[in-house]
């Protein structure tokens, strides 16, 4: 009898791990996948184009329909795992049944943060995480005219852009002094902001959201505080999108007594403290870090698949966070650590009239980080140089111009 592998979660990390596993050792496991959402794994990154009306939701699927069956996988969709019995090695699911496992893979992902403020539970307040959220926003945009997005991170900006494209008047409230502060420095953020402002999105930076006011059970306004002037601001709205961050979803792991620390703690083989249980994706805590970008998830998936397949020779040493994407049509690349620090040197390029800004950060002859906006040529090579900690002294003058 084949060893049984149960996968909890059917997001991008799970899907990618399965792909690798099939590639390395097809037919090695009897695989069951438990997914909370009603449809097979889809590409969450493409939700924004769907929101903006640039892509049909049918185009989101990560695999063609027959792939899972062809590889002998059982999909349990619209189903939640509620508990793990590590002694009996079973997973309880919400239809009351128990699934036995020889290996368990946790890929529970993360949950969007819902701000603990008055009115957060009003009708018309949504988070932005999955297809259902996306469809809800699309529906709201058909009936209503105004939206407020709380959070000027990547997700918030994509939500704002999507809703604006669908014709809503959009305000973005952001607590920090510039947008996407995790991925961008101030100058880069200013370019992104300028491009979005040119499309009619209004920004309220360094504003703290205090409360959401409702009328007849539905959201009516957002109250915020301008931190600079300490003056209150009220923005009338019909829809509030909370995009104020995510939190690894560790509820199942914690209830099973697995070691968690703001994420399911794993070692370099993606194994949890229980040697039969592995974890990948946004739910993970590895060497003290959790990741919310797709590239690290893919790297984890690759390592994890080799160990599940029993040919484990790869180790995950952590990712240099790097993102290379289009924020609402603006190319953005962000990699590594680009904070100013003693001994660090900046190499900067600009084409201000074209909205291009690029900064590379060097430390002791190595490239440690970079932020690009508007033009991300060379991003892949640079991300690799950052990851590999290559000494770049000899090629310093070419770095900015790599193709």
């Amino acid at each position: 009898m084949k060893p049984r592998l149960v996968v909890v979660g059917h997001g991008m990390a799970a899907a990618r791990t399965l792909e690798h596993l099939i590639e390395i050792g097809p037919g090695r496991h009897a695989i069951t996948v438990i997914g909370a959402e009603p449809l097979p794994g889809y590409n969450r990154i493409l939700l924004s184009p769907v929101l903006a009306g640039e892509l049909d939701k049918e185009e989101l699927a990560l695999q063609e329909t027959g792939w899972y069956a062809r590889h002998g996988m059982a999909l349990k969709l619209g189903t939640r795992a509620t508990a793990i019995d590590r002694v009996r090695r079973t997973v309880r699911i919400d239809d009351g049944s128990n699934l036995p496992y020889d290996r368990l893979l946790l890929a529970t992902g993360s949950r969007p943060l819902r701000l603990p403020i008055p009115g957060a539970d009003l009708k018309g307040v949504v988070t932005y995480r999955d297809l259902a959220d996306t469809e809800m926003m699309i529906a709201a945009s058909r009936e209503h005219a105004r939206a407020v997005v709380i959070g000027g991170g990547l997700l918030g900006l994509e939500a704002a852009h999507g809703l604006r494209t669908r014709g809503m008047a959009v305000d973005v409230i952001h607590l920090m002094p510039w947008l996407m502060e995790r991925q961008l420095d101030r100058e880069a953020a200013a370019i992104v902001q300028k491009r979005l402002a040119a499309r009619g999105i209004r920004f309220r930076l360094a504003h703290r959201t205090l409360a959401i006011r409702g009328r007849e059970g539905r959201v009516a306004a957002v109250e915020a505080l301008d931190e600079a002037s300490a003056s209150p601001v009220t923005i009338d709205t019909d829809l509030v999108v909370m995009a104020a961050g995510i939190k690894p979803d560790t509820a199942l792991a914690e209830s099973a007594g697995l070691r968690c620390d703001r994420g399911v703690v794993v070692d370099d083989t993606m194994q949890t403290y229980d040697p039969r249980i592995y974890a990948v994706g946004e739910c993970v805590r590895h060497r003290g870090l959790s990741y919310g970008l797709v590239q690290p998830l893919y790297e984890m998936a690759k390592v994890c698949a080799t160990h599940l397949a029993g040919v484990g020779s790869h180790y995950y040493a952590g990712s240099v966070p790097s993102t290379h994407l289009k924020v609402t049509g603006v190319e953005v690349f962000s990699a590594g650590d680009f904070a100013d620090a003693p001994g660090r040197e900046n190499v900067v390029a600009r084409d201000a009239s074209a909205g291009v800004y690029r900064r590379l950060v060097l430390d002791a002859g190595r490239l440690v980080g970079g932020v690009f906006v508007g033009d991300s040529r060379g991003a892949a090579r640079l991300a690799e140089l950052i990851r590999n900690r290559t000494n770049v002294n000899a090629m310093r003058r070419e770095l900015m111009f790599l193709a």
């Binding site: 900046n346 190499v347 900067v348 600009r350 291009v356 070419e398 111009f401």
Partner: protein, 906 residues
Amino acid sequence: VRGGTTGEVRSTCPYCGVGCGVRIAHAAGRIIGVTGDDDHPANFGRLCSKGMALPMTLSRSTRLTVPELRAARDQPRRSVSWDDALDHVAERFAATILRHGPDSVAFYISGQLLTEDYYAFNKLAKGLVGTNNVDTNSRLCMSSAVAGYKSTLGADAPPACYDDLDHADCVFIAGANMAFAHPVLYRRLEDARKRRPGVKVIVADPRRTDTAAEADLHLALAPGSDVALFNAMLHVMLAEGRVDRGYIARCTDGFEALEREVAGCTPAWAASVCELDSDDIVNAARMFASSPATLSLYCQGLNQSASGTAKNAALINLHLATAQIGRPGSGPFSLTGQPNAMGGREVGGMANLLSAHRDLADPQHRAEVARLWGVASVPEKSGLTAVELFDALAGGTVKCVWIACTNPAQSMPDQALVRAALQRAELVVVQDCWRDIETAAFADVLLPASTWGEKEGTVTNSERRISRVRAAIVPPGEARADWAIATDFARRLGPRLGRDDAGRLFAWTCAEAIFDEHRETTRGRDLDITGLSYARLDADGPQQWPFPKGAQEGKARLYGDGLFPTASGRARFVATPFVETAEAPDKMHPLRLNTGRLRDQWHGMSRTGRAATLHRHEPEPQVAMHARDMAARDIEDGALVRVSNSRGAMILRARCSGELREGDVFIPMHWGGRWVTGTGVNALTLRAIDPQSFQPELKHAAVQIETARLPHTLVAMGVLADADLALEALAVLLGRFDYASCGLAGRDYPVTILRAASAAPLAADLLAEVDAVFGLQPVRATLAYEDAGAGISRVGRRLGQRLAAVRLVGDTTGAAWLADWIADARPAASLGFAILAPSSEAPGGAVARGKILCTCYDVAESQAQAAFAGGLALEQVRSALKCGTGCGSCVPALRRLEASARAIAA
């Protein structure tokens, strides 16, 4: 102004002494085109690259348009009325003259003034002030030629004419690079050689110039050894019986002394002095003496020397000894460097001359001039010549100086002393059309003069031909003709000196009135032009002198009758012993510095420097060196070097050149303080002067050269709203870099360029000032590549699709192709910031075009090279690329490229 608002007037080119005729097309008060005048006998329609570019030199941004005055040295000059300016100067001159005597003031004028201007200044000094302290920049140019002619032939008159180029069987070119300095005459020589392939050309020049490279025999003699060569040639002629004893006996004096002098000048001796092959010397002597007609052409290589008169005389000796004079195709023909050095001397506008070639030292001549002018006397004491004049200013004996139409703070030797002299002077008056010339910085009073295209008068070219100069447009602002300024001043000065005759002496109201007065002074003199008038010149075109009353035409060539304008009627041989250069190389300064001309620049670049196209042949100041001299000093090709001696130093780029002898180096004379850090090559030259001509030895100084380690580099360039204003702003920044030079590139849109390097990191405030000139202030420099840790900052600005300006600091790689990119207005927007990549290759792989050989058709040397390498012959390359089919100035260089391509192929 002639021709109304639109039309064409005939005039002459304002550059060299060939004196080409031009047709100036004008419309709505502006000059819109210049073409060669087909009817002018100096050029028959041809122009050189400099003449062709005249329309591009007419910016008025830095013209002087109103008088400016400062009451004290520490104050800025302010604009004043002509009355205020001239009254102020008249007060100061009068007070100084009354207190310290007339010799405490001086006038330093120019071979670019018209004959009428010259006449007015000369009369002002000698007839009103009572001083002979009026000298000109032709002292730096033709004085030795004049002294040479006078001491041998008896008069300051070139005996030959341009037509002789068509008749000469042997052309002996000494110390002249005609291909660069007198291109239109060189075209004529090319034509003559093509028509008559037997014509032999000998060139005596330390450098293998384009002219020398095309000679049948190039004598690459040691600098300053010309007299030894000429004496040895005479020795050979004597030994082989090639002299014309009959002519010598009939028409000359003094041959015995010369024979004794050259008896020891054997070819072997000269070979060692001149560092030549003695067979070459013998061959040169034979070719010279045995050809049916030998024509010598010579210029600054003979003149700008402490033994310049002897060099001229020694060459003329050869002509007299072989009777190679007075016949078509023969004679010693001095090529004049300025458009009207000849006319200036005709009116006596030098410190040791009087009107119409009269001598100051001759009491009879002085009396004649006093009678002609209607004054009691003219001063007897010889005036101060150029170098002496600035010495006297530095010493304080001359207190007021009036400088007109020349730029001594660029052109005089030993700039440190010249500048100290201008600072020491109590009053410096500068009369010029430009406010941005180097000398203007020293002016207490600036007087705005009209210039080429705006002036009426006459000039005399190298072949004694007088042409009318005509105005096409009115001058800007309150600028006035030079003669009119001198005249107005004279009328104001006279009463202040207690003279009541200034109104009568300076009654002229037009240039023609001055010409008529000058004409009268020539009556009966060697240059008698009593048969000429403006009307005649207008009707019959340019005429050679002499042209006495009743003559139907001027005299093409002189002395055909064997009679010379000396007391005896015979020419005089001058025994000319060879003397070394004034400054011998020594251990500390082992290299011999030669200075000279580029093809596409003229003088101190105050006019040619404004035409972008004229910068493209030689874009950056450089010193040419022999490969072994560079290797011995570990100097890389293109490296910045410091050229120095006890007088000063200059930093510029070193270029390895196959044109130079080992031990010799060459720096073009053109770049002064406006164009390069320091004062230009004249920081290094010396004040040693020829004892007879008083001409300084500008073409030889001993120097040392070492690499200048200036790691902090900058290049800035851009198409700016006004290139002249930008260059003016940059000129004051040059001194803040250890090395900096500015210039132009491009054609239709001039690209202003600054190149700089310093030993210490460049200060932020200096960078900010540079950026401001190029419109690259932080808000405007939208393109940037900055690597502070590596000291690199490259910023740029686009205008629409094209790149408008860039400034590169720390790493200036790619500056050359960026200049092309900007100049050619290539699209840059799609390249974004990547256009600032420090790459020696342009995006798409293009490399910089480099030196532009053909300015008429914009053909780079590299293009021509490639065409020749592909096996094309000269005529094929000319028809394929069109290079050399315009003005023809690049044809010698094309022939050289063809020859070297053939050599490689073989």
